[in-house]
């Protein structure tokens, strides 16, 4: 028999509850229960980073995070970065302007990771930025433009 548990959490600022199969990953829950399809599955073992989301201010791979652990947590996905009228955030806009997006499948993971550490309000060197972003694989861009986009946002926010 399947075992279910009521999982109540805040997702992109809204309180949400659902009975969730205890076997589900957080990625499963976000995609299937809440249709938050920006959460991408690329490997399901924490190696590609496409499913990364922010949980209580830290960035995690939601594929290897049990949905039941999300109970009581604050969860953010790319859908939550978008403003109320659909406007892109400064970070998303920078990804667009710097041509940091090609196929776009890794993009949500990079956005959440960058958003997570940029909120600390610190200035990082290129080497530090590369390390902070190193949990995400991209096969299209060679990473250069992603670095530019994140750096541009960092410098704008810390002006």
């Amino acid at each position: 028999m399947s075992q279910y548990k009521l999982v109540t959490c805040r997702i992109n600022g809204k309180e949400r509850s659902a009975m969730v199969d205890v076997r589900a990953s957080l990625a499963d829950m976000l995609r299937n229960e809440y249709s938050l399809t920006s959460v991408k599955k690329g490997c399901e073992v924490g190696e590609c980073g496409a499913c990364a989301v922010i949980i209580d201010g830290e960035c995690y791979n939601s594929c290897i995070y049990l949905a039941i652990w999300a109970d009581g947590k604050e969860i953010e996905t790319v859908e939550g970065l978008v403003g109320p009228d659909g406007e892109l955030s400064d970070l998303q806009q920078a990804f667009v302007e710097e041509t940091a997006i090609q196929c776009g499948f890794c993009t949500p993971g990079f956005l959440m990771e960058a958003e997570c550490f940029l909120r600390r309000g610190e200035i990082y060197t290129d080497e530090e930025l590369r390390k902070l972003l190193s949990g995400h694989l991209c096969r299209c861009t060679g990473y250069d433009n992603i670095l530019r986009a994140v750096k541009k946002t960092m410098l704008q926010r810390n002006q």
Binding site: R23, S25, E47, N61, L66, I68, W69, K131, S134, H136
Partner: protein, 293 residues
């Protein structure tokens, strides 16, 4: 969706111990970055889980009155690296676990999980060996403590008995005071990597920085479990610092390591790297200690 049986979620350590006793077949899941992958691979398919993820009492670092550093077993790598006590006293541990996987793995991965899965490649393990760490286990009979090298029994097997869970990792004052160290992780790329081999060296120099009062050299993936280069340590302890010392240490460690051939790397390559890493890590550790070679 994972092929999981039943999930038990204890709210306290006591409850976790009780559940361990009641469900001896169940597997402990801490951060999940190891257990969930084994479930998916089929190695643990259908397993019942005792999720200790919610036991926040096992998170965090503190120092006891006698100067023992205590790291809660559920403390994530990211929190260890950022912790002020770790940075001040055993910074090399923070540096070592900052080389695990990538940032998201370091957010979820726990030092307890990293040591309890018993793998020789764990970045935390070789460094903890070099800090003479003590493993604390809590079970139905109470608390049990042992040196980390006794905790590792064989590849993938640790001395975690029925009903027990690892609750902390302890580094006594005498193990850290006056020591500086350096860890080298050897991987095939610079992130998202499991160590091909790794070497952690701690040294303690005399007050005049001329003599090597103590050294501890530990390796990962130089045998079935992490190990110390004991004969090398015994040979060089107390020696004067000379320019030729790092090279001599590099050669000497070859007698202390027993890497094997695998598709990840040949035994010969690993031996060569053990020697090179020991030499370089020692050089860096001495330099951090203010010594000159």
């Amino acid at each position: 969706m994972y092929d999981i049986g039943t999930v038990y979620e204890p709210k306290t350590v006591e409850e976790a111990v009780r559940m361990r006793c009641e469900h001896p077949q169940a597997v402990i899941i801490a951060g999940g970055s190891d257990v969930l992958i084994k479930i998916r691979e089929g190695k643990l398919a259908g397993a019942d889980l005792i999720s200790i993820f919610g036991l926040d009492e096992l998170r965090g670092v503190h120092m006891e009155e006698d100067g023992t550093l205590v790291i809660g077993s559920l403390t994530s790598f990211a929190h260890i690296t950022a912790d002020p006590l770790i940075r001040e006293h055993i910074g090399v541990l923070g540096e070592a676990v900052d080389m695990v996987g990538g940032p998201q793995i370091r957010a979820i991965g726990t030092i307890g999980g990293n040591t309890c899965n018993g793998v020789t490649s764990a970045d935390s393990a070789s460094t903890l060996f070099a800090w003479d760490a003590i493993i604390e286990l809590t079970g139905p009979e109470g608390i049990r403590r042992m040196p980390i090298r006794d905790f590792y029994l064989s590849a993938g097997k640790v001395d975690l008995r029925e009903g027990e869970l690892q609750t902390s990792i302890r580094i006594p004052r005498k193990a850290w005071e006056g020591y500086k160290g350096f860890y080298i992780k050897y991987g095939m790329r610079r992130a998202m990597e499991i160590a091909t081999t790794g070497c952690s060296v701690n040294v303690k120099l005399s007050e005049d920085k001329k003599t090597l009062e103590d050294l501890r050299i530990a390796f990962g993936v130089a045998g079935p479990v992490p190990r110390r280069a004991e004969s090398t340590e015994n040979t060089f302890r107390g020696q004067a610092l000379t320019a030729s010392l790092p090279g001599e240490i590099g050669k000497a460690v070859l007698a202390d390591v027993q890497p094997r051939d695998s598709w990840r790397a040949s035994k010969d390559l690993r031996l060569h790297l053990c020697s090179t890493m020991a030499e370089r890590a020692f050089r860096e550790a001495v330099s951090r200690s203010g010594g000159e070679l």
